[in-house]
């Protein structure tokens, strides 16, 4: 089937191609079933209220148009993949891999080679196809097609979707979280948006709008977004919190306008009813965001000048009490309000580690902060949680901070402590872990490793430590994208973030997890199913600690004596067969 010399072919979501139609070497061994069957035919199976995806490869030269359509109420979204030119070490050949996905609309015109992507001799263009199955869709088979027109001719690629009886729950069973810090990075990613908004109210308005777009994009991809306002010094921009007035017994929080504009729509869920610029309409139902950081830190709302003195407790309980009252007055009680300290003593602003405590003596500060938080928020319906990002001391902190910290975000050392983690989960604490994001150059299915380990370990979530920093030049000198799962859309005339292949592959994986998890729970077989699926996956969930971790106190650990890294993204990922997730998907779609 050709038109004007163009050819359409389908590929599985886990198999990427370069701009010359060659399969990415890291994906080459993938032999997934289901998406691309016989040539020219795509067969998908999917639950209702969810997505099924595949890739379409256009090969040829010249101008063409591409459109997608489907019957039975299915909604089809088309995205053009951007080929990131990877950073090239001296002597290495050039490489381009797809990741950023630019939303395109019905019948849009394209060219090969793509003048925007600037790849000499480009002969192939990948598109990502998302098929959304509405919750009210009738189970059975539904058909759709992609239609390419060029040179007065047309060619089509039909696809069909077997719509399952099962429907996906609105809320995922695990939180795949995407973290970010502050808002200054937005100015670099969106120069046009900030061209006439360098400071003041315009800057604040643009920043709030763009941050909310990030929450929207991630929410639609069945995940969560976090944005930390307070820096290590304790300072924060006024969009993250109200002003302080007075001191001591007279301390007041004033000027909530910016905070309310920023967080109100997130905390009542209304932000998720709005369409993201350039993107399809929201399909995932609007709901209050899972959780948000608060601006509370050692120097706000209480002045650190009074730490250790009666005045600190007075200012803290007055300030946090008023914060809590403001949330209650607005009915913002559906999200978790995260009491979290990000500072580290190595940056010299405070003498104790708020984040990743290395020294046991610092836990006294956390215990005191926990006591003050309880005092300030006693009896409140607001879901306050004391979040601790733990690494070196986690095993000891699980006991020492019990009853104070109740939301743990643990580093990779968590794999040494299966019993301790089960115990903490058993007492009702939330336990996540954190790490990095696989490179664009890695096997496409690598992005599912963190998800699998989260679910199979019985954890509540995973925090990718930084997901909004695509690098100096992600388009033509890409460093791998290990700190980004979304990209600025400005280059394509879109006033907000655009998704990536990795984000979509992860979303589809979360759907699988939700189906498996729900079926297993309903059958009372959750542990059995976890164990059974883990057996077939060449990823280690737990492992014994190294000798140094057993013999030395955490104060004396380092990456040399542990032979292990505690910083995210520093340890190489395992490299299982690139279609390793296939068994999980089969289970998900089979409802077991």
């Amino acid at each position: 089937m050709t038109a004007g010399g163009f050819r359409l072919s389908a590929a599985h979501e886990w198999v990427a191609h370069d701009p010359f139609g060659r399969v990415k070497p890291a994906d080459a061994a993938a032999q997934p079933e289901g998406a691309a069957g016989a040539p020219g035919e795509v067969q998908l199976r999917a639950a209702r209220n969810g997505y099924a995806s595949f890739r379409v490869l256009v090969t040829g030269a010249g101008e063409y148009r591409l459109a997608a359509s489907a019957r039975c109420g299915l909604e089809v979204d088309l995205f053009k993949a951007w080929y990131h030119r990877m950073h090239q070490a001296e002597g290495q050949p050039a490489a381009w891999w797809p990741d950023a996905l630019v939303p395109v609309h019905g019948g849009a015109a394209f060219r090969l080679p793509d003048p925007e992507n600037r790849i000499e001799g480009q002969t192939a263009q990948e598109f990502w196809v998302d098929v959304f199955i509405p919750p009210e869709a009738k189970p059975g088979r539904a058909a759709g097609r992609l239609r390419l027109t060029a040179g007065g001719g047309a060619t089509e690629l039909p696809f069909s979707v077997e719509i399952l009886e099962a429907g996906l729950p609105d809320e995922p069973c695990v939180q795949m979280d995407n973290n970010s810090y502050g808002s200054k990075w937005l100015v670099g990613l969106y120069p046009e948006a900030f061209a006439r908004a360098a400071s003041g109210p315009r800057w604040q308005a643009r920043t709030i709008e763009l941050l909310q777009h990030h929450y929207r994009l991630i929410h639609e991809h069945r995940a969560t977004f976090h944005n930390l306002g307070a820096g290590h010094s304790g300072g924060f921009d006024p969009i993250y919190g109200p002003r302080l007035a007075g001191r001591g017994r007279e301390l007041r929080l004033e000027g909530w306008e910016l905070f309310d504009r920023h967080y109100g729509p997130l905390l009542d869920g209304s932000a998720f009813r709005r369409r993201l610029p350039g993107s399809p309409p929201p399909r995932r139902p609007a709901a209050p965001v899972w959780g948000v950081y608060t601006p509370i830190n050692p120097d706000w709302p209480a002045s650190y000048l009074w730490w250790g003195e009666p005045g600190y407790g007075v200012e803290f309980t007055r300030g946090v009490g008023q914060f809590d009252a403001h949330l209650r007055a607005n009915g913002w009680t559906g999200s978790r309000l995260e009491f979290f300290f990000n500072h580290k003593k190595r940056y010299r602003w405070f003498e104790w580690d708020g984040d990743e405590v290395k020294y046991a003596k610092d836990d006294a500060y956390h215990l005191e902060m926990g006591r003050l938080l309880k005092q300030a928020t006693a009896g409140s319906p607001v879901k306050w949680v004391y979040r601790m990002d733990a690494s070196w001391q986690m095993k000891n902190q699980f006991d020492r901070l019990a009853g104070s910290t109740n939301f743990w975000v643990c580093g990779g050392f968590l794999r040494w402590y299966p019993e301790e983690v089960r115990r903490v989960l058993g007492r009702g604490d939330i336990v996540w872990w954190y790490g990095g994001t696989p490179s664009i150059a890695a096997a496409t299915s690598s992005i599912l490793q963190n998800l699998f380990q989260t679910w199979a370990r019985g954890l509540g979530g995973f925090c990718a430590w930084l997901t909004t920093s695509p690098g100096q030049d992600p388009w033509f000198d890409c460093e791998g994208g290990t700190t980004a799962v979304m990209y600025p859309g400005e280059r394509f005339g879109i006033a907000g973030p655009i998704p990536s292949v990795r984000l979509k592959v992860q979303r589809n994986g979360i759907q699988d997890v939700d189906l498996v998890d729900r079926a297993a729970r309903a059958a009372g077989r959750l542990e059995e199913v976890r164990g059974s699926l883990a057996q077939g996956v060449p990823l280690r969930l737990w492992e014994p600690p190294p000798r140094a971790a057993l013999e030395l106190p955490p104060e004396d650990w380092d990456s040399i004596n542990l032979s292990a890294e505690h910083e995210p993204g520093r340890e190489p990922l395992p490299e299982p067969d690139p279609s390793w997730w296939a068994r999980f998907r089969q289970s998900a779609l089979a409802g077991r």
């Binding site: 290590h232 580290k344 190595r346 940056y347 010299r348 602003w349 405070f350 104060e555 380092d558 505690h566």
Partner: protein
């Protein structure tokens, strides 16, 4: 332009006065006790590119000494009638001509870059350490800050570090249209 220069001179004068107070109030022996011996040893050692967080991971302080100094810097900061940052730099023991930050207060600063562990004392930093005098940094600087340095002496009269006082210059007024 003239108003901006006058403003900068006024800020420089104020920070100079604060620096004079700092040079009297900051105890050099206390300053030297803040960073633990082990942390200082790792700070002085050459950075290992294979374990680039090693020195940070071993960074630790005497809690009480740090807190006292932090509170002192917070109070010094209040002596200026504009927002400024106050940072205590101490000499790295075992590594000549190098300083490391011991305590910082506020976000304004001219020399510290995020995650930096030590820096070579050059220019006005070296001048302050060498002369033991309150030293103003050049006003012309890409950071658009006003900075004054106060020497910190111990009980032997030796200069063991300095207090950096830095404030951001107000943004230049936009030229009138027409």
């Amino acid at each position: 332009m003239a108003a901006g220069a006058a403003q900068a001179r006024r800020m420089l004068k104020t920070l100079g006065e604060v620096a004079r107070v700092a040079s009297v109030m900051v105890d050099g022996d206390e300053a030297r006790r803040i960073i633990t011996e082990r942390a200082m040893k790792y700070l002085a050692a050459p950075s290992d590119p294979r374990h680039r967080f090693l020195s940070g991971d071993y960074y630790d302080v005497d809690l009480a000494a740090f807190l006292r100094m932090k509170k002192l810097l917070m109070r010094l900061e209040c002596l200026a009638d504009f927002k400024c940052g106050a940072k205590l730099w101490v000499k790295v023991e075992g590594l000549a001509d190098h300083l490391t930050l011991a305590v910082q207060q506020g976000s304004a600063g001219r020399y510290y870059t995020f995650g930096q562990e030590k820096l070579r004392a050059e220019g006005e930093l070296a001048e302050c350490l060498g002369t033991g005098q309150v030293t103003a940094a050049p006003l012309e600087h890409p950071s658009r800050t006003v900075t004054v340095l106060a020497p910190v002496r111990d009980s032997l009269g030796d200069v063991v570090g300095l207090v950096e006082l830095t404030a951001a210059l107000p943004a230049p007024a936009r030229p009138a249209r027409g």
